[in-house]
Amino acid sequence: MDHFPTNWGRPKYDGFDTNATYPFHDHGHNQSAAFAGATQHTQQPIVTGTSVLAIKYKDGIMMAADNLASYGSLARFKGVQRLHPIGDYTVVGASGDMSDFQYLQHVLDGLVISEEINAQDGHTLGPAEIHEYLSQVMYSRRSKMNPLWNSLLVGGVKDGQRFLAYVDLLGVTYFASTLATGYGAYIAQPLLRKAVEGRENTLTEPEARGILEEALRVLFYRDARSINQYQIATITANGVDISGSLKLETAWGFAEGIRGYGSQTQ
């Protein structure tokens, strides 16, 4: 029984104050779990991926992400695939904590298998179902104050219908014809919106590829946690195709004639 009126009606801190021995609700946040049986929740992402971009075009969905998993400011893992195919119709792209993404890949792959084996009714999971499932999982984890620290893009084509949506560590979902996570939301979205909005049904495949490549190039220039090696996933009525690693061409001679940062002329 909680004897302290200041705790009534407020969330319980069972993790580190099981018997409600402290009268004040605000005991200092996220105290480190220092004793046996302790559980620690709300974390910080450790190995992280940066932006994922996706657009709708005439034949389906195109999604792009670079191949880097950073360890803080260290470019630790350079051959990482951050676009994952699920079932026959969907691709999930993830930014944020890579270990949480690997866990989600495991969960989603298991889900597709179990749906097929257990139900055996011929129904398969499409992108809309994958997105709905993910948004339930993400929101329920955030409500337990133990989030999966990711921003995910779910894209796919099933029964001729294109699907593109966003879900993140807070359980926020968003639908649009152009999506970007991380720094892409500030740097790439303006470019994607200008190039795609209104033309989702007329954009051809090479045009869509060009738009994503240009956005990835600008991100490589301006995002300090990116590299110029990337992959593009194309989902059409014919299925999912994730390209091999591609390299971006960049130009660094823009300030060749400039000397210094102010009045220097030599």
């Binding site: 303006p190 301006r222 102010g262």
Partner: protein
């Protein structure tokens, strides 16, 4: 022996810094410096510089001014866009503009962009970032066309294309994919308009219209409200009250000015006429 503590006569007095740090550690909330969201850009082209800015001034989540002017005059062929705290940008550009004019009169030469830049950066550094002015300074002088950014702490960058403000990422994305050396005037203007528009439509701190300023060796052209992509829809009705809504019994009109004649005063001998230009 008197140990005279010399307190500087200019710059800020930082003796309260320790006190503030102590208070903050005890949980006292520090007042937050308000930043006015903005998109400002500058771009080098074949014949000179094009500067651009949006026209929204915000106070927190509220739009305080829908059509303010962010491209400030420094000298005839030097202009400065300002982002950050509006009062700081206005006062510091006005101060340096005044000092540049005096300097030009003293040296007998047209002012140079590096002079304005040096004056601005030295003053901003002296105040250790407490003056919240992030500037894009551009102009053409006897040594050529120059474009600088100046940050509130006093650091400067010299680049062919720059953006500042909360909309700078959106505008820089447009510049990175569109800028190339030796652009024509029209191409550069189009690029600047596209960059500011990206800020206006993708950043909540920027909005309303696009201002531009083209500076070349021969002349500087201020294009106020060059593009207006957010014109308010025309009101469908007139909301005035018809005469007679309030009943009246009598009406009397009295002319306050009976008659008026204006005669300019003759100039006193040996004196100068007032300059009313």
């Amino acid at each position: 022996m008197s140990a005279a503590i010399h307190t500087p006569t200019s710059g800020f007095d930082f003796s309260n810094a320790n006190r503030n740090a102590f208070l903050e550690s005890k949980g006292v909330k520090m007042p937050k410096a308000t930043s006015t969201g903005t998109t400002i850009v500058g771009c080098l082209f074949k014949d000179g510089i094009v500067l651009g800015a949006d026209t929204r001034a915000t106070a927190g989540p509220i739009v305080a001014d829908k059509n303010c002017e962010k491209i400030h005059y420094i000298s005839e062929s030097i202009r400065c866009c300002g982002a950050g705290t509006a009062a700081d940008t206005e006062f510091i550009t006005a101060l340096i503009s005044s000092n540049i004019e005096l300097h030009a009169l003293s040296t007998g030469r047209k002012p140079r962009v590096v002079t304005a830049m040096t004056m601005l950066k030295q003053r901003l550094f002296q105040h250790q970032g407490q003056i919240g002015a992030a500037l894009v300074l551009g102009g053409v002088d006897a040594t050529g066309a120059h474009l600088f950014t100046i940050h509130p702490h006093g650091s400067t960058d010299k680049l062919p294309y720059v953006t500042m403000g909360s909309g700078s990422l959106a505008a820089m994305a447009v510049f990175e994919s569109g800028w190339r050396p030796n652009l024509e005037r029209e191409e550069a203007l189009q690029l600047v308009v596209a960059a500011i528009s990206a800020g206006i439509f993708n950043d909540l701190g920027s909005g309303s219209n696009v201002d531009a300023c083209v500076i070349t060796a021969t002349h500087a052209e201020m294009l106020r409200n060059y593009v207006m992509p957010n014109v308010r829809v025309e009101k469908e009705r007139k909301y005035g009250f018809r005469q007679g809504t309030t009943a009246w019994t009598r009406e009397k009109v009295r002319e306050m000015i009976v008659s008026e004649e204006i005669r300019p005063r003759a100039v006193a001998p040996g004196g100068e006429a007032m300059d009313t230009s």
